[in-house]
Amino acid sequence: MKDVDTTQVYPRDPRKTYGLMELVKGTRPTVGLDEDTVYAWPHLLVRELVIFLVVAACLLGAAFLIDAPLEEIANPNSPPNPAKAPWYFLGLQELVSYSAFVGGVLVPTVIVLGLMLVPYIDRKRVGIGVWFARERWLANGLFLTFLVVMVILIIIGMYFRGPNWGFVLPWEATTGH
């Protein structure tokens, strides 16, 4: 009766109703990956800790070096010219300056819906897990174009727009009131 090896890696602790089932070496049949894995502790957790500390150090460094802006107290009777939205909305504000409907409604709606539809349109399982897979040139190209256009619009809004949303060169810009 004793000839079958019933040794468990994790003998069931009678006081517990749950447990880690087993650890396996070699290929896991359930997951199609090569067993090319390492333990989360320490490999993943140490990396996360390092990132955490680097982020903390950068934030503290920035906080001591650069002060967050603070202008005069809000005055509803004295609008700055131009009044600018936060930087991440400046692309939309730039579009609004051509057409309120396009910048305020059409483009934001298309962006959000478009982004949400992405994984349901582009479903073919090719090029997963590598940067800029050649098979994905079209999708990657479109997305890169989208990002570049947004960045250009934001930069125009940030540095090239002066009084009455007129075009200015950054080094000549003055903010009127």
Binding site: V9, L20, L23, V31, G32, L33, D34, D36, T37, V38, Y39, A40, W41, H43, L44, L45, R47, I51, F52, V55, A56, L59, L60, A62, A63, F64, A68, L70, E71, I73, A74, N75, P79, P80, A83, A85, P86, Y88, Q93, V96, F101, G103, G104, V105, V112, M116, V118, P119, D122, R123, R125, V126, G127, I128, G129, V130, F132, N140, F143, L144
Partner: protein, 257 residues
């Protein structure tokens, strides 16, 4: 690793007491040195168990993720801590708020550091969340079975923008006031729903005390609460989707790394 069997000899009663307290908290000993210990360390900790016991080497390569999602998570953690700390000094009133900002600069010890960390972490979070999204796109990581986690991600992006935008008003300086005036007027351009939406956000025709209290509640309770919930779902989905995307997820094994 041994099951926790204390060896009674040579130990003082006090030492054994501390040992048993330690074991009651951590159960499986000190820093794990072997596979079993490493598994238990992750498996038995509330804070670590969102991680799998083992991860693919591919996911750990820095040049795969550039740590962008983790950076965004860290920024959110720092923002939460500094944000709660700022709440001790801040007062969401159109007559008080600006003065509190000046206090942070002069009257509160290291108040300027506190405000600056919160401000720069907030700007960085928008930036890194967008970079993380770009990483996910360019590595095809939104493809099945991860479609829904991409959707959760978009919701996280919108919540991040909402947090940044609502926080922008709180200092109640010229920058804040006019940026929110412009930003909310963009929302007002939508046909039919635009104007009611704008008034709902501002609680009035224009930016004033009502808008400040609405933005404040959104900023310190509602949006961070929602973001925490969706972030939990985001992480849980990563586990359920079999960890991070990996070339083995492709139908055709054409791609060799």
């Amino acid at each position: 690793m041994q099951a926790p069997t204390p060896t009674p000899d040579k130990r003082t009663a006090v030492g054994m007491f501390f040992e048993s307290v330690y074991r009651s908290i951590f159960r499986y000993g000190r820093l794990p040195r072997d596979g079993e210990g490493a598994s238990y360390a992750v498996f038995n900790s509330l804070f670590l168990h969102i991680h799998p016991v083992k991860v693919a080497k591919h996911s750990l390569r820095f040049t795969y993720t550039f740590g962008l999602g983790v950076i965004a998570t860290c920024l959110f953690v720092f923002l939460t801590f500094t944000g709660v700390w700022l709440m001790f000094y801040y007062f969401p009133s159109a007559t008080e708020a600006y003065g509190r900002m000046l206090d942070l600069r002069s009257a509160v010890d290291f108040g300027f550091v506190l405000r600056n960390v919160h401000k720069w972490a907030a700007e960085a979070m928008v930036f890194f969340v967008v970079l993380h999204m770009a990483r996910v796109f360019f590595t095809g990581a939104y493809k099945p079975p991860r479609e829904f986690n991409w959707i959760i991600g978009i919701i996280l992006l919108l919540l991040t923008l909402g947090l940044s935008f609502t926080g922008y008003l709180l200092p109640w300086d010229q920058l804040a006031f006019w940026a929110i005036t412009v930003g909310t007027s963009i929302a007002g351009y939508a046909p039919v729903v635009g104007e009611p939406l704008r008034r709902f956000l501002l609680g009035s025709d224009s930016v004033g005390q009502e808008a400040l209290i609405r933005f404040y509640v959104l900023h310190v309770v509602i949006l961070p609460g929602l973001l925490s919930i969706f972030l939990a779902v985001h992480f849980w989905r990563i586990r359920k989707d079999g960890g991070l995307s990996h070339p083995a997820d492709n139908d055709t094994p054409a791609i060799k790394e």
